[in-house]
């Protein structure tokens, strides 16, 4: 008998205990879950508005993967919080809703920057991870994150990171599929969804900031050239690449990645690839990899990775995947030493 009572007490404790009990946990989980849904909905509305299209009940339900009834409940909840309003069948963000949406976008892009720079996650993985982390951060926490990252201006896909309160720049450029043949274009944005398309683009070797020309376009494929290599993509994949007019010559002619510089060949640093940001970039700069610095690959080991470079009087070893991000130009004068 006492055993039964003890068991009951224990069970009710497990369920009802404040903060740590199952009931409290469930409630918190539901609260967080709803907040996530609200934030995802806000993002959807924001992106629709920036594209000049309007969000509807159906588009929102489709984006969130919810039934129409549940989406309606969500919208009601959001209306109560004064985040959205109906204009006929169109759903609009209120100024308050837009502020919150921008906050989430900022969180998302800052996290992407963090994951790419500091955690060095592969680019095609960061969108999903950032999506998990973007919720529930306060303004102050975001400010701290931004400061720690050195106030980046763009996310790793090339999208501008909104300032606190300021309007989010929408991705510049137009889809590559609509670009004229043979007109030099600079890649300014790689759409991060669907993940598969991004992975394909990255696997082909295309990077943000690269200058390309469309040399062939058929319904089956699009062929690009950067003057050295050719890239073949399915049009559906190419539509995820956004380009603008290549006004200035981005890479000095003849610039090659440091990783490809032959042993003993002196070269001059042109720039650190813009995709390298945050701590890694600061470290590179502090080591003296500034434009104009002279480097010579001096040592290589059994595996060919890392290699050691003579840089401003010191031997510094860099892994090949890092040296790939440093653009150099061969010096005119001879190799320092032909050993």
């Amino acid at each position: 008998m006492t055993g039964m009572i003890a068991l009951l007490v224990l069970l009710s404790l497990i369920v009802l205990f404040p903060r740590y009990g199952a009931w409290a946990q469930l409630r918190r989980w539901r609260f967080l879950r709803q907040r996530e849904q609200v934030e995802d909905a806000l993002k959807h509305l924001l992106s629709r508005e920036q594209e000049g299209r309007h969000a509807s009940l159906e588009s929102l339900a489709g984006c969130l993967g919810l039934s129409t009834a549940r989406t309606l409940r969500l919208i009601e909840e959001m209306q109560k919080q004064n985040l959205v309003e109906w204009q006929g069948r169109r759903l609009h963000l209120t100024p308050q809703g837009e502020r919150w949406a921008l906050h989430v976008v900022r969180a998302h892009r800052l996290w992407e920057r963090y994951l790419a720079d500091e955690a060095r996650m592969p680019l095609e993985k960061i969108h999903a991870e950032a999506h998990r982390r973007e919720h529930g951060l306060s303004e102050a926490e975001l400010d701290a994150l931004e400061a720690a990252l050195g106030h980046p201006s763009h996310d790793p896909h090339g999208d501008p990171i909104p300032d606190e309160g300021a309007a989010a720049g929408q991705p510049e450029g137009i889809e590559l599929t609509r670009w004229d043949l043979d007109r030099p274009a600079r890649i300014v944005h790689l759409e991060d969804e669907p993940e598969l398309a991004l992975a394909q683009i990255l696997a082909s070797g295309l990077r943000l900031g690269q200058i390309v020309r469309v040399i062939e376009r058929t319904p089956q494929r699009i062929v690009l050239s950067d003057g050295e290599n050719e890239y073949r993509l399915a049009p559906a994949v190419a539509a995820n690449i956004y380009v603008v007019e290549a006004h200035r010559v981005e890479k000095a002619p003849g610039a090659i990645p440091l990783s490809r510089l032959p042993q003993g060949q002196e070269a001059e640093v042109v720039e650190i690839d813009p995709s390298v940001q945050g701590f890694t970039r600061r470290r590179f700069l502090d080591l003296g990899l500034t434009p104009g610095a002279r480097v010579v690959p001096e040592l290589s080991n059994f595996f060919g990775d890392p290699r050691a470079y003579r840089l401003r009087g010191t031997l510094i070893a860099l892994r090949q995947d890092q040296a790939e991000k440093i653009w150099v130009r061969r010096s005119q004068n001879n190799p320092t030493e032909a050993l």
Binding site: A144, L285, D286, G288, G313
Partner: protein
């Protein structure tokens, strides 16, 4: 107190007037910080001056925390603080933060920047950064013997002129130039040598931005010794300095310094960051 003849350099004039004080650095009159790139012989110099045996190894990143010791020169007791070897004070990695915070907030009476004569360019980058923070800088151009072996000659007089702070050639391993270094440090501290460190100009845009911020900072914290440097750090978005500004930490330090101008630097040196 051990005279430095144990190392086998009894007749060496370099050591005249130097007494190593090892760890007994509790009563001292001046605080001197040792900064420099990794592998420049900073620790060799530290051990030579203090008689301590701090091991660093020929391996960067070994000294993560600062080591302290003492020496006496011409009757004045100096506390010597060996900062972690870094290439820069900007990256905000842990050891760079330790080094920078001590130079900024520890307010040493003088900073010796140990530079490697065989890789001067890289070492001067750090020297310039230290010179942005404080005026009381002496540059010890170490490894002069190695540079000669590599067929390089360093003109330290020209270097002093270019940088606006005294540069002293030394060879810490052989104990050459130590007397010169110590008397130069003493002269800089006592004001017998006036330093005018050369500061980086940067682009006109950069200069304008700095010039706009400096008066604001001086208004906020009158008497702050390095408003220019703080302006640069704020422009760079240095979270640490922003924090110090917002929390009033910077103000408190300036106020406290004015209250007790003389004892302040010593006290802070003991407390370090706290």
């Amino acid at each position: 107190m051990k005279r430095l003849n144990a190392t086998g350099c009894e007749s060496c004039p370099a050591y005249a007037g130097l007494e190593q004080m090892g760890l007994r650095a509790d009563h001292f009159d001046r605080v001197v910080a040792l900064a420099g790139n990794p592998n420049t012989g900073k620790s060799t110099l530290f051990n030579l001056l203090t008689g301590l045996k701090q091991h660093t190894g020929n391996w960067p990143g070994k000294t993560v925390t600062r080591a302290e010791g003492g020496y006496q020169f011409r009757g004045v007791r100096y506390k010597l603080v060996d900062l972690p070897g870094t290439y820069s004070l900007l990256s905000a990695s842990q050891d760079e933060e330790v080094a920078r915070d001590f130079i900024l907030f520890g307010r040493p009476d003088c900073v010796i920047v140990v530079a490697d004569a065989t890789a001067l360019e890289r070492n001067l980058n750090l020297a310039f950064q230290v010179m942005e923070i404080t005026e009381k800088v002496v540059i010890a151009v170490n490894l002069m013997d190695e540079a000669r072996r590599k067929g390089l000659e360093v003109d330290t007089r020209l270097l002093s002129r270019e940088l606006g702070v005294p540069c002293v050639p030394i060879s810490a391993r052989r104990g050459e130039g130590i007397y010169d270094l110590l008397s130069t440090v003493a002269d800089v501290i006592e004001g017998r040598i006036q330093t005018h460190p050369r500061r980086i100009q940067g682009t006109p845009e950069f200069q304008q931005a700095v010039e706009r911020l400096v008066p604001l900072i001086e208004k906020l914290a009158p008497g702050v010794p390095n408003a220019r440097w703080i302006a640069i750090r704020l422009l760079d978005g240095d979270a640490h300095v922003q924090e110090a500004l917002l929390s009033g930490e910077l103000l408190r330090r300036v106020a406290r310094q004015r209250q007790a101008e003389t004892s302040f630097s010593r006290k802070m040196a003991v407390e370090g960051r706290q």
